[in-house]
Symmetry: D2
């Protein structure tokens, strides 16, 4: 019976995988059991953030040294979802999700499944093709985990591609806008697979315009370091060992402290990892008071957002090791977001 | 009998005082009653933040148009404490503190007093002379308010000077370091006046080195736009009308959510204004987890800090209008800070 | 006979007009003779750069104290074209252009004329209405100067408006894009008035798309601090005193050192002021080598551009007091720009 | 007879070594012949710039795949001197220096030698021990190249260590200041070895204080990615093939266009690579005009400097592929720097 394990590990810099190397050397994690990695590196989180690529290269080299596989083959089967930017109270860290086969009690536990979509070229980013590809990949990842019903899914985490070079056939020449479109298409595709968004409304035209379409259970990052949509699904399934719970709650807006607290309350026990998404309110105000995140020439709006959201979640957690990612288009209500807490159940 | 009033007003940009102009036009505030202004402008909060000067110039022109005084004369008697930087969830706003004479019930209420030290030239910044000058000014401001005992003081807010040009006789050639020294000297001086710091230990050598010396009731900003130490003291005094309370609590570290909540609990009622101080933990870690605020080449550490601390306090307040200022040397415990809440008592 | 004078003055900060106050106190410049001010302040040059507003407020107050007019009336007749951002080698400074009436020799000299378009609301920015309004204003400014023929114009400098608040009727919801559209419309409008751009091709659709439309004699800034198009025209006209020459040359790309040198060669003598425009090459490369200005999350592309272009022009001038402004859409060839040098002729 | 070859190669991102892989695949460069790499990556150039580590890891993996050595062994014999930050006109690129043995005419050519000092722990950075260690390493590198006399040296390039973690025994707790001290010690040590700085004056106390001590032939970077002083010496020596020349000239200040042109004039022919060092003038002014590089809270002073200096050198070269590094302490005159041009002699 597979048992999910989550290790939350520090890094001294984006190329420092020594904490994972130590775990493997001591036999606490087997390289072959690793199913996904989700982490925060200390870059700027934008187009020119290379800390994600550095980490991924180092991780795959380390795993390759253990399993004998090629780094490229490992990268093609183990999703590595990184978000750059540890502004404010946030602490660089990464979560290693592994599944070991063992005799265990329990009939139903937190399961993990993964899937990769076919490559999404620049011209398909933010189009119906990407929406459909992500929906298919989410269904494949659910099947991989043995999760029977959409309502059993706790969280879908996707790393969606951003174009590495301009392409005249793309929906936009603005690279940042394409990154947002990619997140939007992945969120909507995942929302369709979960039944949170009606398939009929999940059109190309709805992306970034009809923000009433959203799922409270999807978290998307996009970046140039991936070329397809990498999907990790968490949910409850028969045949997985008990022991870990996931609590998810939406945030109505950036200051929704009660929403953050609800996610922690829904996952009582020792916290193993926290994932949060949010965005600068497009209206330019939060609860009626003007914010300045969107018009700052010196600090990118997403860096502002991560610093603020990260601090609130970290204050509730009492711990800066929170995966916070900006760009929450169609992920939670507009101007808001979501929080997911993994805990060892008591 | 004087009655303290606090108005919390928005600004569309750092030169926008229209909200105050409107209050005065409608007779809700008399220009002659204004005793102090404390606000947050949307600059970077550093040496080259000119939003503070812009606001101050505009404010004094507006008041001068009402009272007939010269702007310079107004600036010399009304402390205008501004902190630049509305990172993340923070909202540009300013608090106008006025005291009107009226028939009122009550025997003891929240009082406000102000004082200006003599000019502190660059060579005196961060030296014993500044410590003594601020201690004297705090005592003068207490007397101005009629606050009898140090224990009746809720908060001392100081705007301390930073040198406008390099001076070879200054303690340092590093302008940022001099700004920190100025905050430290003012904090230690105020702490001595309040009895929170023993006078014998309040030496020049202790500044920025003996961080066991601190007061939980002093909040200091420094900037090039002032040339002396401008002091505002809040506390309880006989002969002031009832109706406003101030709650103050220390924060043990940046993630001390309970500390923030304690300050709000200490000032039940409709919130009129919030002041918070904090600093990036010098150890490079918060509760054992590495943070990256101090080593970021792209975002100043104080901008990181304000975004994080501001979001936590704003989440508790449910409102982004929080005065948050970085650089909490000798103001609250090292790595921590303090929160002060003004509320209309129920 | 009017004689144009140019004073290049330093500022210690964006609210420091003491150098001009000194000139006026010594009788070297009469407030009533001042026709235009063009300057560089040390902000970030973007949406949230308030150094321009601070300078303008201070300037108009100073002039009002001399002429007895209201500051608003002065601002409505004296163009004050400011560009924020003194990156790298650039030095904050401002050029004061004044015209005094005096007995002078000469039959034809450098003339200056000004004009203000009607207010351009957000919904007209980047539309045919703005193009036409700027063309009309340029013709009016030429008439004001007495410049008879378009070919006698040396340079048109325009400060074009950016919307102060979002407007659903505007061409875009992206404030930065609207700033670019405003520059584009003003450049094309001025180019039409000069005969450098055919009126038939100067359509709304051509803005930012048909970059083959450009004038080498127009320099545009846009900002929220103005609500109409403020125009200053320099050129040669009968009836103005001799003594000052203007040399203008296009830059084919950012590294066009010969172009810069040509502008200086065209205005031999003591340099009185330098104006340069340029832009980050949209192709992502300069002379075939990749640049990184457009994809940097931490430094705005225009700040990169001003630092680079400013240093090249300053190195040729041997002086950091160069007015450099980014955003050269339709001002010089794509990826390039222009340089204008004012000198006291030998 | 060894023949020095220089290849100037582009990179699409800091982990992109495909251009070098291609050269090796086509047999144009043998991995075993590579003696040093000097390059510019597109990071921020500061403490938290990880693009240097990413490039180095990728480079050593590539070379290891060719030579069969371990990456760590390669890193211990091939200096890889990287400077982060391609502000403004600069283009990410790297120079590969290789030496092949071949029958060649000529009696004396440009030679290259390398050496590594013993590890310099944090407590030795900026102390006499580092000065001596670098002087010894420069002498060793000269011997490696066969350069007989100090006056035959064209340029010494050093990558000096910065501490990876705070050390209470270090000269400072300020990591940025330690980086500057490390550059200073390396520059002074190299200057002593070249005879440009008297050994008696090369004391720990002189570092960063006696800026009259400098060499026009040393260029130093420091970074956390190295733990010892990695030295590359270029100069003329018997027994090396003719064909490449190096021209070096000091820059008196940042605007010293003639200095830049002199370096290019001293190396006529096809340019193969350019190295420049400079620094923001500590006086706060250049040729009497105030600059704002040192007091900007939003853009690091070294980023300002690289953007400005890089643009000037690139404009003379007509090419953005210039290695520009800030922090020119004791490398060229104060406020100035130096330029070195490698060219294929005609």
């Amino acid at each position: 019976m597979p048992r999910l394990a989550i290790h939350r590990l520090p890094m001294a810099h984006p190329g420092d995988l020594s904490a994972l190397a130590g775990l493997m050397a001591r036999g606490e994690v087997r390289a072959g059991d690793i199913r996904a990695v989700i982490g925060k590196t200390e870059g700027n989180g934008g187009l020119n953030d290379f800390t994600r690529g550095f980490f991924t290269q180092t991780l795959m080299l380390l795993l390759a040294s253990q399993t004998g596989e090629e780094p490229a083959a490992l990268a093609a089967r183990i999703p590595c979802v990184l978000s750059g930017g540890t502004e404010g109270a946030l602490s660089p860290h990464f979560l290693v999700f592994s599944a070991s086969d063992e005799a265990a009690r329990g009939e139903r536990g937190l399961a993990l499944g993964t899937a990769f979509s076919p490559p999404t070229p620049a011209r398909e980013i933010g189009r119906a093709a990407q929406i459909a590809a992500v929906a298919d990949a989410v269904r494949a990842a659910m099947a991989d985990a043995g999760i029977a019903r959409p309502e059993d899914v706790a969280l879908v985490q996707v790393k969606a591609p951003a174009p590495q070079a301009p392409d005249p056939a793309a929906r936009s020449t603005d690279a940042k806008f394409l990154m947002a479109l990619s997140r939007a298409a992945a969120a909507v595709g995942a929302g369709v697979a979960l039944g949170d968004i009606p398939a009929a409304r999940a059109t190309e035209a709805s992306l970034l315009t009809d923000l009433s379409l959203y799922s409270n259970r999807v978290s998307i990052s996009s970046g140039v370091e991936v070329t397809c949509n990498e999907v990790v699904v968490f949910g409850y399934a028969e045949g997985w060992a008990e022991g870990i719970v996931a609590g998810v709650a939406p945030m109505a807006d950036l200051l929704d402290l009660a929403g953050v607290q609800a996610a922690f309350a829904a996952a009582p026990g020792e916290v193993l990892g926290v994932i949060a998404k949010g965005e600068p309110d497009r209206s330019g105000a939060i609860r009626g008071q003007r914010h300045t995140m969107l018009g700052d020439t010196d600090i990118d709006a997403q860096r502002h957002l991560r610093g603020a959201l990260g601090a609130i979640v970290a204050a509730v957690a009492g711990d800066g090791r929170v995966f916070v990612s900006g760009g929450a288009e169609h992920q939670g209500p507009p101007g808001g977001g979501l929080v997911c807490v993994f805990a060892r159940s008591r």
